[in-house]
Symmetry: C2
Subunit: 313 residues, 2 copies
Amino acid sequence: MEKSNGVAAEVAPAECISTIIPGWFSEISPMWPGEAHSLKVEKILFQGKSDYQNVIVFQSSTYGKVLVLDGVIQLTERDECAYQEMITHLPLCSIPNPKKVLVIGGGDGGVLREVSRHSSVEKIDICEIDKMVIDVSKQFFPEVAVGYDDPRVTLHIGDGVAFLKAVPEGTYDAVIVDSSDPIGPAQELFEKPFFRSVAKALRPGGVVCTQAESVWLHMHIIEDIVANCRQIFKGSVNYAWTSVPTYPSGVIGFMLCSTEGPAVDFKHPINPIDADYSHVNTKGPLRFYNSEIHSAAFCLPSFAKRVIESKAY
Amino acid sequence: MEKSNGVAAEVAPAECISTIIPGWFSEISPMWPGEAHSLKVEKILFQGKSDYQNVIVFQSSTYGKVLVLDGVIQLTERDECAYQEMITHLPLCSIPNPKKVLVIGGGDGGVLREVSRHSSVEKIDICEIDKMVIDVSKQFFPEVAVGYDDPRVTLHIGDGVAFLKAVPEGTYDAVIVDSSDPIGPAQELFEKPFFRSVAKALRPGGVVCTQAESVWLHMHIIEDIVANCRQIFKGSVNYAWTSVPTYPSGVIGFMLCSTEGPAVDFKHPINPIDADYSHVNTKGPLRFYNSEIHSAAFCLPSFAKRVIESKAY
């Protein structure tokens, strides 16, 4: 009877199937209490439990295939472009000629697909903790996992925190942290020691972009992330956001920071990928990103601006 | 048993109570098939059926009070600022010294509240078809309905289409069309004869802003609206969008058009309300709008830009 109220009751991770109400998937979490987004399920394609999390793939009736980790929607075929393109091109289009890029998380391969649009890039490392996410993406989301086909990509399966500690100082031009929410396996990716390792792994004037939650739901988390980043990154520290319909509150934010060195003006992209069409032949056109929406992503609603920009002083 | 799948079955309007699943409200509509946003209900405060639609007000557990018309969320206390401030200040901040403003729909009073922040305004007419919406807003949403307290406001209860036909040519500096979706009583507000009446009611170089759906869900509707507006409005024709978490897909768009006459550059506001703080004393600070987010609202994702801007030629 618990399920007759329209959402599944809170269930232990092992009972993840219970979160699939017959006919519909409802996304509930203590991260966004009192609300739930539901998608109609045509068919459940995969259910598994990795060492780290529950993994579900289903065919939805109107959003294409959907990847769910620990009950939270990670991507749908219909709107994944917004997240993948923005988390990748916001940092990479802000610096000239990125050559070495590290992706932490992002096991689905979508960020790799976007990084590989940049012809200047010579080396792409990815460190994903959960092999099941990679396998499932390759099986069910070939247009996302296509990123793994690029010969510049080296896959490391393991803990991103440990991986970064072993990286020689100043190795990367850009680090992209495509993590899930701070409750679960990604928790450490929102903490100060991790940001310190990122800063160390970047060259002077290198850039990092991390998934940084929703201004509508998580201003207190964002406030902490901004404060931490201002302590650790001595270059630019900016918050950007974008629309992603299947994420809670319909938006997701990003922290963009640069290390001390050549100045980075994130709000004015200097490396306009949309001016170079060679990547379109292999990856298809950009569906979401363009130079205008890049700059617009840094314009925040007044309620968020007051909190985030007050941290600047 | 129909309700055990997480959303109410389709029900006749008279049975609107059925759309409230015990404990949660789920928003389902053929306008966004295969998905539903749900809010946890603390208490149902009002249910009625007007001559035009079903009206429900409930106290949600995390979004404050919520107004629902014909099963569709119109506003929540937590995020109404985004919609009301953007639909109002996008047009009014784009022209110098707006004096006469007409609001079509907008019975809750939120747009009036925002219009009345502009000290240049001398006369605000509002034409709302459904008196029950006004009464319910005054009773349950005093911080929204506060717009009716302004002595510059004249309320007309009636059909906006008929009202506009009777307006002498060139009367208004700005018209704001705060309508519900094109299925239901607002249908005519998305059609060409209505846009013609709006154009006639505006002075040369006057502006209109109409609710114009979501780029993620309704590109075909938007394409039609843009094509109609380009035929009828001989000045600027632009599409803008904003984040509103409780609207389907988390965004809502606006058509902004101007009539032949002094040029209007909607993307660069010339009447920066956020520079004048006198309105803050009576209405409180702007929670969402600022001049930067005004310009950013016109930056569209590539998939929408390709469709909307191709209509320009």
